[in-house]
Amino acid sequence: MFDILIESLAYPFVRYALIVGVLIALCSSLLGVILVLKRFSYIGDGLSHVAFGAMAIAAVVGLADQMVLTLPITILCAILLLWSGQNAKIKGDAAIAMISVGALAFGYLLMNIFPTSSNVAGDVCSSLFGSMKILTLTKTEVVLCIVLSIVVVIAFVLLYNRFFAVTFDESFAKAVGTKTRLLNFVIATVIAVIIVLAMNLVGSLLVSALVIFPALSAMRIFKSFKSVTVFSAILSVFCAFTGIILSILFNTPVGSTIVITDIAAFVICSVIGKIRG
């Protein structure tokens, strides 16, 4: 068993996958805490569908680097969704359902009308559920992923106190002069970046699992915002690492293996939380 592992790790693309996987898991769990607490979990889900649609467009247009298109479109939608979510008159959840289902249908249609390869079903499947086996990334993608992840982590650490304030009580934060609009804008942008990054790893249907599970698991056990955030990051990294290794060992799809690991961790955390009361 370990032979397979050591043998696999000799390949650069396997090492890339591990690095990228761990970084994405770290970023998504940090923002996941905010998303879950702000009751925005569904936004992550909606956005991943939007990213799928955008990716289909990029593929049809024939862009070499699909992120050039998927990133701005997803960011734009994230901002629109957060905005509408705050306006009580427009039903935020209905708007998200509309956009996400629309983008999914639109993307699938595009990929069928303008097939870019002979295996459309396989393409669709891997963009929805992630690569069948270990993901293959180019060096540029790896570098881009590392840079974006570092930016996300730094932004999170620097804005940590403000993020807490705006998540716990937006009215109070606004009343005492915190720029809540700007912060929500930053949160929306960062979420969009993470979704697009994570989509490569686990596919667009499974992205929100990466975002919400570590946060929910940490919330079962820990009782302060800081400890929840830290534990959720550690847990997420651990699960992503374990998931990727397991997928190599047992030759399973990487995305769903990571998600299953996250779910297992959630169950364990729930039990621990119950026992501790």
Binding site: L37, K38, R39, L158, L159, N161, R162, F164, A165, T167, F168, D169, S171, F172, A173, K174, A175, V176, G177, T178, A218, M219, F222, K223, S224, F225, K226, S227, V228
Partner: protein, 238 residues
């Protein structure tokens, strides 16, 4: 000295007017109670005073260096907070966010202020406890300590005793009275008119009837006698 002067305020949303022609002023050290029926625009008035939304008409003047960031606010609790994993200290410290300025982290002075205000409200021993596990009264104390971190001048309280049992309610009222005695201006929304009148110095009644003046005058006014009944000890039902 007057801290806040409102002239001919018109409140509401785009095409719904909730209240019109509100003129009143608040002096430093005052204790003003805002009362009125449900939907009279009490919370909207408070949000407008906090500059969370714009008035449809009229003006608000702030004096005594009263910027938006030097008003302490105790909002009604939201659903989000019901299961929020945050320690008491984290919540209280977040009251210092207006002193962050361009800094990224809280200063020593801010942390000290958070500690002092926890002591002031008797919640020091709860510092590491989880906010969501506290009783309603303890949670209100935490939020009040947070509001105090934001100001030494003026507190705006939106139904601070909603959902509290009678004993905790009267504790909360005496706590607010104590803070008012220390020189902090208090503006409070309340459903409980009888009790508010007991502690307040001025009353602002909005809705079907308008009244602004001292508590003594309010008791004699048509609006006051209607809502208070004889002697001011009857609870009215909304």
């Amino acid at each position: 000295m007057e801290q806040l002067i409102c002239k001919n305020l018109k409140l509401g949303y785009e095409n719904i007017t909730l209240a019109e022609d509100l003129s009143f002023s608040v002096e430093a050290g005052d204790y003003l109670c805002i009362v009125g029926e449900n939907g009279a625009g009490k919370s909207t008035l408070m949000r407008t005073l906090l500059r969370l939304q714009k008035p449809l008409g009229g003006t608000i003047e702030y004096h005594d260096d009263l910027t938006a960031s030097s008003i302490g606010y105790l909002p009604q609790q939201t659903i989000v907070q019901k299961d929020f994993p945050a320690s008491v200290y984290e919540v209280v410290l977040s009251g210092c966010q207006n002193s962050l300025g361009f800094h990224l982290f809280y200063s020593k002075a801010a942390k000290e202020r958070a500690r002092k205000n926890m002591e002031r409200l008797g919640i020091t021993d709860l510092a590491k406890r989880c906010y969501r596990e506290l009783s309603g009264g303890q949670q209100q104390r935490v939020l009040l300590a947070r509001a105090l971190c934001a100001t030494e001048k003026m507190l705006l309280l939106d139904e601070p005793v909603a959902g509290l049992d009678p004993l905790v309610t009267s504790e909360m009222y005496s706590l607010i009275e104590k803070l008012n005695d220390e020189g902090i201006t208090v503006i409070m929304i309340s459903h409980d008119i009888a009790c508010s009148v007991k502690y307040a110095k001025h009353v602002l009644h909005i809705g079907n009837e308008f009244f602004f003046g001292t508590v003594e005058d309010y008791k004699k006014s048509p609006a006051g006698s209607k809502y208070l009944g004889e002697g001011g000890h009857h609870h009215h039902h909304v």
